[in-house]
């Protein structure tokens, strides 16, 4: 009965007719942000540094076929991605552009685990949604060219979908902060904020031991509550000021690139449709008399999107299926909106040995990995295994028969002293990276209480 009623209420809410303007504004903001992200990425030389220079890439399971395209292939791929982003902003061949953007962007992100960022995952998800959201029915080149008819109204479905997704990013980021390191020890902020002790006037605050607590607690409260405050009419203006304040602060304090600005732009979707109508009219949109209206997507797509949303709600909790401390073994860490949660560093010494060698060979990781790859690998078990597999093949090609690959890895987490991370007697080249618990990761010798 209750479920029936909820379904009824949801279906009434998503069918409620409203303006198409929020979708168009979101489309424009998203497209322009993505275009500038790509230009920035290119200008900083990261295409070469991250996707052309490395000799080895850490693939995702089942996506090993995603390979870098070299020079100029990678530049062409980024250029295409940028063109698609611009086309999305302009509403030009919109459906094709959203598919193109989703595929090129996701392809790039799947190239190397080293570069995994939650906000890239968010962009892929948002791009996937845009494929099914007809956001080109207002203020677009497609209308000008007569490719689609202008439509003034739409079911609220599409806007609710985007708000749900954004709200989830915040809420899960907040849930992840509910742990003893973050709340009781103010780690890792206690480490990170000390970096600003040299600032004039406010420097001594950053060296203090209480400011990290203020930041930790207000960060957690912000993440958990902001989606709700953004939903309520009365609190929305203040909440949006908080969004701006919070993200500008993180942009100043941490090297997190475009992400704060993407969130500031994307959360505009929480404002009521009339607000977006005003934006479009300021931009000079002309409304024609039209009878066309946006419809709900087909039932098949609605169910698909619903299932995907449920998947996203459940997936971040998969770590409960693994024994031990999530922050330590990181099984179930990615794709769960755990952002800026840990100060984790490590170093990995690999050894190659076989029956004929009088002593193990000490691998020089630098020969194969970039400093960033080495750093990321040293704290993430699945990457440690991937590199061991690579080394096995490499040394077999060098004529070392049946090499055994072991590693001495030391890791520190949130200011604890470094300790041995994995069993250094296990032949990592014989370990398959799978969903099964990685028993060879040594237990964390402390406790972090929380989600």
């Amino acid at each position: 009965m209750v479920i029936r009623r909820i379904i009824d209420r949801v279906s009434t809410a998503v069918q409620k007719t409203e303006s198409t303007a929020p979708l168009a504004v979101f489309r424009i903001v998203f497209g322009l942000m993505m275009l500038s992200s790509i230009i920035r990425f290119w200008a900083k030389g990261w295409i070469h540094e991250l996707y052309i220079a490395p000799k080895f890439y850490f693939s995702y399971t089942n996506f090993e076929w995603v390979k870098p395209l070299g020079d100029p292939g990678m530049y062409i791929l980024f250029a295409l991605c940028g063109v698609f982003a611009l086309a999305i902003a302009l509403g030009f061949f919109y459906r094709f552009a959203t598919i193109g953007f989703f595929l090129t962007f996701t392809y790039i992100e799947l190239l190397d685990k080293t570069n995994y960022l939650n906000h890239y995952y968010f962009i892929s998800v948002a791009a996937l949604f845009l494929i099914f959201i007809p956001a080109n029915r207002r203020f677009s080149l497609d209308i000008k060219l007569g490719r689609v008819q202008q439509a003034i109204t739409t079911p609220a479905f599409y806007r609710i979908l985007l708000m749900l997704q954004l709200g989830m990013v915040y809420f899960f980021a907040g849930l992840a902060k509910l742990n003893s390191d973050w709340l009781i020890h103010a780690q890792p902020l206690k480490i990170w904020l000390k970096a600003y002790g040299h600032w004039p006037v406010v420097g001594s605050l950053f060296d203090s031991n209480w400011l990290p607590y203020v930041f930790s607690w207000s960060g957690a409260i912000y993440d958990l509550s902001i989606p709700f405050f953004l939903l309520i009419n009365r609190t929305r203006p203040f909440a949006y000021l908080a969004v701006i304040g919070f993200h500008v602060m993180t942009a100043i304090l941490f090297p997190i690139g475009m992400f704060p600005f993407i969130m500031i732009g994307a959360t505009l979707i929480f404002f009521p449709p009339v607000f977006h109508d005003r934006i479009l009219s300021i931009l000079g949109e002309s409304i024609e008399q039209t009878v066309s209206r946006v419809r709900l997507p087909s039932k098949f797509i609605r169910v698909g999107l619903g299932v995907f949303l449920i998947f996203q709600i459940l997936f971040p909790f998969r770590h409960f299926l693994y024994p031990g401390e999530l922050f330590w073994h990181e099984q179930g860490y990615r794709f769960s909106w755990r952002v800026m949660l840990m100060e984790k560093a490590g170093t990995a010494f690999y050894y190659v040995q076989n029956d004929e060698m009088p002593r193990p060979l000490f691998v020089d990781n630098r020969e194969f990995l970039t400093p960033l790859q080495e750093k990321m690998m040293s704290t993430q078990p699945d990457m440690l295994v991937e590199f061991a597999h690579f080394l096995k093949t490499h040394f077999e090609n060098q004529g070392v028969e049946n090499p055994i690959i072991t590693a001495d890895v030391y890791v520190t987490l949130n200011g604890r002293q470094s300790t041995r991370f994995i069993d250094n007697t296990v032949d990592l080249s014989n370990v398959e990276d799978s969903w099964k618990p990685k028993r060879w990761v040594l237990p964390f010798d402390d406790e972090i209480i929380g989600l």
């Binding site: 900083k44 991250l50 960022l117 939650n118 906000h119 980021a173 709340l183 009781i184 103010a186 890792p188 206690k190 480490i191 990170w192 000390k194 970096a195 600003y196 002790g197 040299h198 060296d207 203090s208 031991n209 209480w210 607590y213 203020v214 607690w217 409260i221 509550s225 993180t250 942009a251 941490f254 090297p255 997190i256 690139g257 475009m258 992400f259 952002v339 800026m340 100060e343 560093a345 490590g346 170093t347 010494f349 190659v352 060698m357 002593r359 060979l361 000490f362 691998v363 020089d364 630098r366 400093p371 960033l372 750093k375 040394f395 060098q398 030391y410 520190t412 200011g415 002293q417 470094s418």
Partner: protein, 373 residues
């Protein structure tokens, strides 16, 4: 009850209350009252450690240049002896100046021009025979610097008088020595000038911890130098740690042809690193260094301050090196296990430096964006 509800309504107040509670249970060992002056640390490291190191280096290369030029006016056993002594002195000064491979030093390419080894003796001989070379080109990277001098001064004739005669009969060698000394002197002088005319000021003022900051560079570049040029080049590779045969490679030892200084240079190299870390001058005056910053942060390892742990590891490595019964050229063969122990000791130092120290300081290792919220 009402009070409770109003407390719930006032999240800000709640934060403050919880804050007070949490502060009580604060268990970090950090010195909460003080605040650390990174600028004075950088000033000390610049003025009392780095600049003096480049000062000594450029003074010794000047001597090397003058003494090689002196050979043009007739070489003698005395002149060769003096040159050999100056060469050793220069190599020693290098150990204290090598690790600052950023700013002027990296602009000048100091690391590649001064002391890469092993050198290719055939390449050196070919250059001298042809008389047609530009030592500053990348192609000559294995035929220059203090290690090329090692070969020319110790690898041709051991007796000084014999070598003096050899030089007289083959003036091409003298030219090569002069060209090589000129190159090193130019590079060392330009680096020193870079520091004294401007870079020093921007160095002491870049007080952040991001990768472009001075602390970020000291830590990132310093650790890379420690791994590549100390641990690997000076002991690991010659001891066979990186080869699949596992056999020692004495030809890879620093100053192979001299054959008597490599032990000392490894010890000096570690000491040079410690000088930066501890903010100590060559005359032993203690100043503000990374150790003091770690002290301020309250970082511990096995219950002791981390900086003590780091110094202890390095002292161990130095003692083990001095305890080898011969110079590294023989030791890597005759005492391979002892050499591997030194390598392991340095390996453990890397853990403390790269993992514990870097993390405690919140130093970034890369420009690339990190995850944010």
């Amino acid at each position: 009850m009402n009070a409770y509800i109003s407390l719930r309504k006032h999240l800000g107040l709640m934060v403050v209350v919880l804050l007070l509670v949490s502060c009580d249970s604060d268990d970090s060992g950090g010195d909460s009252s003080g605040n650390f002056d990174r600028k004075s640390m950088l000033t000390n490291i610049a003025d009392n450690v780095i600049v003096p190191a480049y000062d000594s280096l450029s003074a010794t290369t000047q001597t090397l240049l003058a003494q090689t030029q002196e050979l043009n006016f007739g070489s003698s056993a005395d002149k060769v002896e003096n040159l050999r002594i100056s060469w050793k002195h220069a190599l020693k000064q290098w150990q204290y100046a090598a690790l600052y491979d950023f700013g002027p030093a990296s602009d000048q390419g100091l690391l590649s021009f001064f002391n890469l080894f092993p050198v290719s003796t055939t390449h050196i001989e070919d250059n001298i025979a042809s008389g047609n070379y530009n030592l500053e080109t990348a192609a000559n990277i294995d035929a220059i610097g203090l290690q090329a001098m090692d070969y020319l001064l110790f690898g041709i004739e051991s007796d000084a008088a014999d070598l003096a005669n050899y030089f007289s009969e083959n003036p091409g060698y003298i030219n090569y020595l002069i060209e090589n000394a000129t190159l090193m002197n130019n590079k060392a002088t330009a680096t020193l000038q870079g520091w004294t005319s401007g870079y020093r000021d921007s160095f002491v003022n870049a007080t952040g911890t991001d990768i472009g900051s001075s602390l970020g560079q000291l830590v990132n570049v310093g650790i890379q130098y420690f791994e590549v040029h100390l641990r690997d080049a000076k002991i690991g590779i010659p001891a066979g740690a990186r080869s699949s045969s596992g056999t020692p490679l004495p030809l890879q030892v620093e100053a192979y042809y001299n054959g008597a200084v490599s032990k000392e240079m490894l010890v000096n190299g570690i000491e040079g690193w410690q000088n930066m870390f501890n903010g100590n001058s060559r005359t032993g005056e203690q100043g503000s260094g990374l150790d003091d910053y770690l002290k301020f942060l309250g970082t511990t390892f096995n219950g002791n301050p981390l900086h003590e742990g780091i110094n202890e590891r390095m002292e161990n490595a130095k003692t083990q090196t001095l305890n080898l019964s011969s110079d590294l050229r023989e030791a890597v063969v005759n005492q391979q296990n002892e050499c591997m122990d030194i390598f392991s000791e340095l390996q453990q130092s890397v853990v403390l430096l790269k993992v514990d120290m870097t993390s405690a300081m919140g130093i970034q290792i890369t420009y690339v964006d990190n995850d944010g919220d």
